[in-house]
């Protein structure tokens, strides 16, 4: 890749970074990453990947920006309320780094479209807020042999793991979505806004490590942290031979849309 003066300047802190260098930066510029969900996790992931110069960023989200999103979804600003999240995100990415090609999908990821969409990308980031799509991303990526980063946040806690073909998958750890009535209710949930940034930036770092081949990915390990104590833990997890999607005798051979448990009642205000 022939870099212009401006590009050399823009990416200079990567280029001078041992382990990355021009070669690593080229890999980043040639990378194609799909971000599922332009919310709390997707926002920091998209901003850091755009800043790093990831060549193609796909963003899929069917929602519009709501005022209650702005407490943590830092890619969306006050004037974006009611705008499609993917458009709002694309506008910020373009302003941050015009080198990045942004592909937007203003829809939900479903069992029907998942494989078609993810096949265009090198890496998938789970930035979703619900279990049905988390399991869908896992199953689709396992079936398609795509690496992905799982991320979840709740209250003061966050967790993430990176899944490559053959390593422990999300379903190895969490066999199936929790029963709908067990999902935290409105009054029990909520999230400290900055937690989304803490977790999303870890996911973004994993993507950049994957693209450049630097370091050890968070595979076969689940990283969890609690912001009240600021304690981080990495729990070793093993590939589960009984896993329904990547185990010895997989029972899931087709993608399914699980029913979504939700406490959201769209208010008109």
């Amino acid at each position: 890749m022939d870099y212009t003066e401006d590009q050399i300047q823009r990416y200079s802190r990567h280029i001078i970074l041992q382990d990355v260098g021009v070669e690593g930066q080229e890999k980043i510029n040639n990378g194609k990453v799909l971000i599922v969900g332009a919310g709390g996790l997707g926002a920091p992931v998209a901003l850091y990947l755009a800043a790093a110069g990831v060549g193609t960023i796909g963003i899929i989200d069917g929602d519009v920006v709501d005022l209650s999103n702005l407490q943590r979804q830092v890619i969306h600003f006050t004037p974006d309320v009611n705008k499609a999240k993917v458009i709002s995100a694309k506008e910020k990415i373009n302003q941050l780094n015009p080198d990045v090609k942004v592909i937007t999908y203003h829809k939900l990821l479903t069992a029907e479209n998942a494989l078609d969409i993810i096949k265009e990308y090198d890496f998938v980031v789970d930035g979703t807020d619900n279990f049905p799509v988390k399991f869908l991303i896992n199953d689709a990526c396992v079936q398609a042999g795509k690496p992905f980063s799982h991320g979840g946040i709740l209250r003061f806690d966050g967790q993430t793991m990176t899944v490559l073909p053959g390593t422990a998958c999300y379903r190895c750890v969490f066999q199936a979505p929790p029963p709908a009535n067990a999902v935290p209710t409105c009054s029990q949930a909520g999230v400290l806004g900055a937690i989304a940034g803490m977790l999303g930036t870890i996911q973004a770092a994993e993507v950049l490590k994957y693209l450049t081949g630097v370091g050890d990915l968070l595979t076969n390990r689940l990283l969890t942290f609690n912001a009240k104590t600021m304690e981080f833990r990495t729990i070793k997890v093993k590939h589960n031979h009984n896993c329904a999607v990547c185990g010895d005798h997989p029972t899931i051979t087709e993608l399914v849309d699980y029913e979504q448990a939700t406490c959201e009642i769209k208010s008109k205000h």
Binding site: G37, G39, G40, L41, D66, S68, N69, R72, G127, T128, D129, N130, F131, K134, G152, I153, L154, D157, G158, Q159, C172, V173, F174, Q175, P178, P179, A182, V183, P184, C186, S187, A189, G190, V191, G193, I195, A196, L222, T224, R233, I235, K236, V237, K238, N240, N242, T262, C263, E264, I265, K266, S267, H269
Partner: protein, 84 residues
């Protein structure tokens, strides 16, 4: 007596074994349906939580389901009801 490492921290029990279900209760896990359990680095099937016994020197990890921030107070009226 048994010493069991739960989420990286040692806990002491008066009995020689404790079932996973008991361990979940003793640790005040708020929603047992939302936890996945690893015993000595092997996942325990949810259906076996009652019959699986944990003994001295075992290591148990509770891994919690975590969705995202949006399963939260997006409903304005429910937020207001909490403020009152």
């Amino acid at each position: 007596m048994s010493k069991i490492q739960v989420n990286g921290k040692v806990q002491e029990f008066e009995t020689s074994t404790v079932s996973i279900i008991e361990l979940i209760k003793l640790n005040n896990v708020p929603q047992p349906e939302m936890v996945s359990v690893q015993l000595n680095s092997e996942f325990v099937d949810r259906n076996d939580f009652g019959s699986t016994l944990v003994k001295d020197n075992d290591e148990v990890d509770f891994l919690y389901f975590m969705g995202g921030g949006s399963l939260s107070l997006t409903n304005y009226s429910s937020t207001i009801s909490l403020l009152r």
